[in-house]
Symmetry: C2
Subunit: 98 residues, 2 copies
DNA sequence: ATAACATATGAACGGATATACATATGTTCA
DNA sequence: TGAACATATGTATATCCGTTCATATGTTAT
């Protein structure tokens, strides 16, 4: 942490970011697509959840720029946006597993 | 991320951990005590919030082992538990500020 | 064009939770 | 011991949010 205290507004943004990570479905989705991109149906089947549920959560992930999308015909392929995402998850893991 | 997919239960735990970071009040508390320990009253005044609100949130932070407590007379002095906490916050900051 | 499939979206319901108020517990000092 | 202060806790409320169901939008192939 730096010496200077982060602005309140930034802390609100930060809280919003962590909120996205604070749901097990979204985490599972992120983990599911962490190695290679997956279509919505693939993710839903993999997690054994409703397609609409996954779609709703993917929107949240999209809005927070945590995932990328690519269309290929009828399917939309999702993948993690950048390495920050993986690192944030790993960091959390470290805390839990210590 | 490793090749092996994390267990579902661990992802639930992980979500719970991130949930704690997903509240601006708790984040502000953490930032407030990141440099040096502070009493409950000090934190509450610093954030201009009710003492009970802060106390409730400190309990959440305690239960998740994110803060340490030390009693000194009437006051309880809170500080961050370990460097993971700071690093998780920094990592989130990086994501936002990029 | 229409059928079949994939995904997104809207609305509603239920459960979780942050805050405030009141009060209890704990500590110090006179 | 009792007053004053610091912190914790119980309860209630209001808001937020994840999921489901229903349906719309978009794409492909016949």
């Amino acid at each position: 942490m730096d010496n200077n205290i982060p602005d309140i507004e930034i802390l609100f943004e930060l809280a919003d970011l962590f909120k996205v990570f604070g749901d097990s479905t979204r985490l599972r989705v992120m983990v599911t697509i962490s190695d290679s991109e997956r279509s919505v149906t693939e993710i839903a089947e993999s997690l054994n959840m409703e397609q609409s549920t996954i779609s709703h959560q993917l929107r949240v992930l999209r809005q927070n720029k945590l995932v990328r999308v690519r269309r290929d015909g009828k399917q939309m392929y999702y993948s993690l946006d950048d390495d920050h995402v993986k690192k944030i998850i790993e960091m959390g893991m470290d805390h839990i597993l210590e």
